[in-house]
Amino acid sequence: MSISLIGRIDSSNAAAVEETLVAQIRDGEPVVLDADKLEYISSAGLRVLLRIRKAHPEMRLVNVHEEFYDILDMTGFLEMIPVERAYHTISVEGCEVVGRGANGTLYHYNRDTVVKVYNDANALADIMRERENARLALVLGIPTAISYAIVKVGDSYGSVFELLNARSFSKILAQEPEKFDWCVDEFTKMLRRIHETEVPAGKLKDMRETALSWADFLKDYLPEQAAKKLHALIEAVPHDSHMIHGDYHTGNLELQDGEVLLIDMDTLAVGYPIFELGSIYNALIGFSEMDHGVISRFHGFDYETAKRFWSAFLADYLDTTSKAKVEEVERKARIIGYTRLVRRSIRRGGLETEQGRAEIENWKSQLLSLLETTDTLLFSRDDLEIEASAENLAEVQSFVERRLEAADCSPRALMQLGLAIEEVFINIASYAYAPGTGNATIRVEIDRAAKLATITFIDSGVPYNPLKKRDPDITLSASERQIGGLGVFLTKKLTDDVRYDRRDGKNILMLIKHL
């Protein structure tokens, strides 16, 4: 609730103003005093504010103009009362629309600046939160633009960003189709970076909670069994303290001076990446499933391009060439996607129009059939399961390298790990299943904060603990040395730590390396 302070407040009317304010303030509601139309305030007026502040400690002052701000500063009121300064008013009439999101519209204000205008007139809290989020992301290593000013736009507010010659990925895809592969690559790389970023506890909302609330909403619109299953699937997703963007699409990636920037940070959260994949599916396909024109209206490229982009991205993100794997994760993503779409459409009155009902029916029926065939929303994303054979070494190495490169691994560490991986993988390929064949799983885990990479090799072959081998006597001549022992020795030399475990009939070998 916001109360306007209007005109002059001095000793002649301070008591009356106080009375009016007290009458307007409702208990339990935060007191926000809007000083936009305040012309003059004397010290009697200041004291009225102080008294209200004492009775309502959470009181805030907004739209404070220069002169009043100076007085508040001089008298120490700034230290007692949260004050938001008045914002410069601008008009975005005639400005090019860069993108439209759930919370607002992004305009090119002039060559170097974009303004995000929020839909909600009470957007100040949202704007503040988005700024906080952007700062947090930047501190955690995600390249993003931070708004440097807040402006008033009509009845709402906007955030101003400096984007020098920036172009969104949507625009690049629409105008330069030859850059498709590059876009997929960068789009995936940025998303990996986000998903590898660990967020300190309590800084961002938990996406799992949000998704549970979607499932609860759908209870009244789905058959009981399906609703229960949906809830159980989401509930079974473990807590994950890694960042997710929440509204990741080609309109929210900007290319500026060769650097890729992530924008629109108000939906930042933490959670398991399936929630993110669900919303990416929606942005590229889900929204446009019935009306293929939606995608071109929002992003400028067509539905076919969007579908190709989604498949290429997902394969790249999962780092797999297996079609089955991509389809498996896509099904899980669609469960989240449709859940979101059905809820969103119902909440926006979709059931009241014929077109809306048709869309809801489409999404809902797909959701129901997916629910029947899905038992978990979890998927492995940093695992490569591959036949343990020497021919596959190159694929294993490139799988690991891509992850290490994305984590800004030093070239030296990269090379050393390459050698170590060769030793370990060839060893598994040669001995684990001999004379037959079998699979090995390779997992890469990066701890960005500690700058550590852990590469795990798992096979179900004969028990073998390479660490039990004694280090070879390297003073002996080549012909005198024991075969095999040198490889293990080299692996230990090339990494910072090697650990072995045997669990559930599996050899688990971990290489730990400082990046």
């Binding site: 001095d10 000793s11 002649s12 009317n13 301070a14 008591a15 009356a16 106080e18 007290v22 004397s42 010290s43 009697a44 200041l46 004291r47 009225v48 102080l50 008294r51 209200i52 004492k54 009775a55 007085i71 001089m74 008298t75 120490g76 009121f77 230290e79 007692m80």
Partner: protein, 287 residues
Amino acid sequence: MDNAPVRIDLHMHSTASDGTNTPSELLCRVKEAGLTVFSLTDHDAISGCEAIRAILSPNDPRFLFGVEFSCKDPLGKYHILGYGYDPDSPSIRAVVDLGHRYRVEKLDERLVFLDRKFGFVFSEEEQAMLHALPNPGKPHLANLMVRHGYAPDVKTAFTNWLNQCVSEDLYPRPEEAIEGVLGAGGIPVLAHPCYGDGDQLILGDALDARVRRLMDFGLKGLECYYSGFTEKLRAQVLSLADRYDLYSTAGSDYHGANKLIRLADTGLSANAPLPPRLSRFLEALNA
């Protein structure tokens, strides 16, 4: 008893000026609030203090005689507090009478002005009632105008009619008030120093100059702890008290239901030891 925490509020108003509590109601509030020392400081009036003295019993909180004089000289307006004076001294009576005389003069001037200019007339009983007030002022007239239907509300009464009457703004001079308090054996203190006569903002060098001038007349203390002060303002006043070795006092400026100010809200925390300049002030009045 010596170790019991001191809770203090040396600035409040009763119905003897513009507060809404009668002196006896005020005494009840003071006890409810757990104050151990208090003073009543009506504007230009000491009749409330005399009423309190008459009903005070031995176990009641320690009471200091007080008053708040509105003063003016060519350099500005001031509120001068007087504490611990002898109420029977002709010296303090003279200032109260002077203040009252000026108020009555201004009242008469305004009554004539309202009559001549706008045809607002009040009955003889009403006029007598106004004259009988210990310190009649513009708010009393405004209330009466609303009751007569001359003005829709108090605020409009002020802005549309009362403020048009440019009377000769008569007030005792600050040196008259300070000398009056000193002459009656009391201690003169500058009220809410940063706020001047209540509606100004006086800081830094201007405040310093003001305090020095009043010290030349005999000012002995500053109201450093005040409900309307922020920490920054309090720090300014405290540093002046240190610089010129003045007493400090603490007051809320409680007005009863007229304002949101809470009794005992002075900016001093309830359980903290009394600041030395305030202790010395209380000791000086004990003697």
